[in-house]
């Protein structure tokens, strides 16, 4: 059963619409759990032996596995069904948002929260030129004055997309990372926190909730999601401000944050923008501050098949920067932005929402290990974290 989002910007589907959303969520669970397992078996039993016969070796990277899988019928059905399921996520949500558009925008206007918009800010090409992950209108298209529908579409879509695996309000990543920081570094108490590429602020607010008194700011290039994020925060009564700003060119002074965070953000950026954001993160961090990103795990930590498996989105889901990001050496990427190589941080973070406090704390203390569930959405998923401390001179 999918639940309504718990804040006042929720839109309530009819029973049939909710049933359709639940179907799509179940279909995605079937694809990512059952079908993914079968596809791996097809690979190991047929595709891999054939490749080894032809080449005298196993595939060395995701592209070679991808090429070898092209003729595999199961892969074609997996891909076709997964692609359609992605389209159906949005098709199950957009009519509900559309029908509630006036009311939704009225609710956001009545209690707008703290939003700082910058109408002159250009929407970057990586957002405007494609409908990112097959989302009609991408992250930014607006259909009314002061529209919050881009936020509503995103919020409600990921509620279906996540099939109850990413927290009550799709905020598990934020809670997991905030609690990881709290437990892993008990002496580090960030007072000023930035969440870059925050969309609807679902993973921004947990920082304010877990570090009471901290000043939390979320930024995004899309006015629609910034408005929505601010109104969503106001509805939930969590203090945070949201600003329309590009992470590659931050409008903040040097050394103004203790923590710069991002989640599910970097893999949608061209490499040059990732590099620019990392330099900006380094600039705005105070010495002793932490740069921390939740992301899909990098290819150099994975076997060829797992690389191929996670790169599916880059090939077929209108996320062209997903694989280029995952091909990077993250330690080098941080070092190129000014972070000292020995200050690099990497971790596997359990899901806070679904893990009892004592077990969560034990796993943080024990240094959770990278495994084949890391970054793969499902009941066993653990989040991948990386970043760096800004050295005290």
């Amino acid at each position: 059963m999918l639940k309504d989002l718990s804040h006042d910007l929720r839109v309530t589907p009819s029973r049939d619409e909710r049933t359709r959303q639940e179907f799509v969520a179940s279909l995605r669970n079937h694809i990512l759990a059952d079908m993914a397992g079968s596809m791996r078996a097809h690979y190991e039993q047929r595709v891999l032996p054939a490749f080894q016969r032809d080449h005298g070796r196993a595939p060395v990277d995701g592209d070679e596995v991808h090429d070898a899988m092209q003729e595999e019928r199961y892969f074609r059905f997996y891909s076709a069904i997964r692609y359609n399921a992605q389209e159906m996520v949005f098709r199950s949500v957009i009519p509900v948002v559309d029908r509630n558009l006036e009311d939704l925008n009225a609710r956001a206007r009545a209690k707008p929260g703290s939003a700082v918009l910058n109408p002159g800010l250009p929407v970057p090409n990586n957002v405007s030129n494609i409908d990112v992950h097959l989302s009609p209108g991408s992250y930014h298209s607006e259909y009314q004055a002061d529209d919050v529908s881009p936020g509503a579409i995103y919020d409600n879509s990921i509620n279906v997309f996540a099939f109850n695996q990413m927290g009550r309000d799709i905020d598990d990543i934020g809670h997991s990372f905030a609690n990881y920081v709290r437990l892993a570094w008990p002496d580090f108490r960030p007072q000023r926190i930035l969440d870059a590429g925050c969309t609807v602020g679902h993973n921004t607010l947990p920082w304010a909730q877990n570090f009471p008194g901290a000043e939390v700011t979320g930024i995004d290039v899309s006015a629609g999601v910034v408005r929505y994020a601010a109104a969503r925060a106001a509805s939930l009564g969590v203090p945070a401000r949201f600003m329309q700003m590009n992470a590659t060119q931050l409008d903040f002074p040097d050394a103004s944050f203790d923590l710069v965070f991002s989640s599910m953000f970097l893999h949608e950026l061209p490499l040059k923008d990732i590099r620019a954001f990392f330099r900006e993160a380094h600039r705005v961090l105070k010495p002793g501050g932490l740069f921390l990103n939740m992301e899909l795990p990098p290819n150099n930590k994975m076997q060829a098949y797992d690389r191929f498996y996670l790169d599916w989105d880059s090939y077929y889901n209108k996320e062209p920067w997903y694989k280029p990001f995952r091909d990077q050496d993250l330690r080098q990427l941080c070092a190129a932005a000014g972070f000292a190589a020995d200050q690099f941080v990497e971790a596997v973070v359990p899901r806070y929402t679904y893990t009892p406090e004592a077990e969560f704390a034990a796993r943080v203390a024990g240094g959770a290990r990278f495994n084949d569930r890391t970054g793969r959405l499902g009941e066993e998923i653990e989040w991948y974290a990386f970043g760096a401390w800004k050295q005290v001179p």
Binding site: R15, T19, A80, R91, L101, D131, S135, Y316, K318
Partner: protein, 117 residues
């Protein structure tokens, strides 16, 4: 089309921009895949609705099955069901149609094979 449906046009596009990839060699298989999935989704919606209907009616002491068999639809109800059925068919067959970006796959194929300008 019923008045209520005609009065409110959707504002937000349902289809993403850009070409859909082709996963199968045989022409039409990708579209059939979409049809099957949309049909299955709609079938599930109906099955759950019927399940609820039977239980709600039973709790209310209504002997539903004979009443349904004997029911006469009025013209407005006929028109509403006609529209709902049309929408169902359009959804199941959506992969064949011109999308928001302006070019459907059927047209692309026709253009590629020189059947239209």
């Amino acid at each position: 089309m019923t008045k209520a449906a005609a009065a409110r046009k959707p504002r937000i596009p349902l289809s993403h921009r850009g070409k859909r990839p082709r996963f199968f060699d045989a022409s039409g298989t990708d579209e059939l895949m979409s049809m099957v999935l949309e049909l299955t989704a709609e079938l599930w919606v109906v099955k759950k609705r019927l399940y609820l209907l039977e239980r709600v009616a039973g709790q209310a002491g209504v002997p539903l099955t004979p009443e349904i068999e004997a029911y006469e639809l009025n013209p407005d109800e006929v028109a509403e069901l006609d529209e709902r059925r049309r929408l169902l068919i359009a959804t199941v067959l959506r992969s064949l149609e011109v999308d928001q970006a302006g070019r459907g796959q059927v047209r692309e194929e026709m253009e590629a094979t020189g059947r239209v300008a």
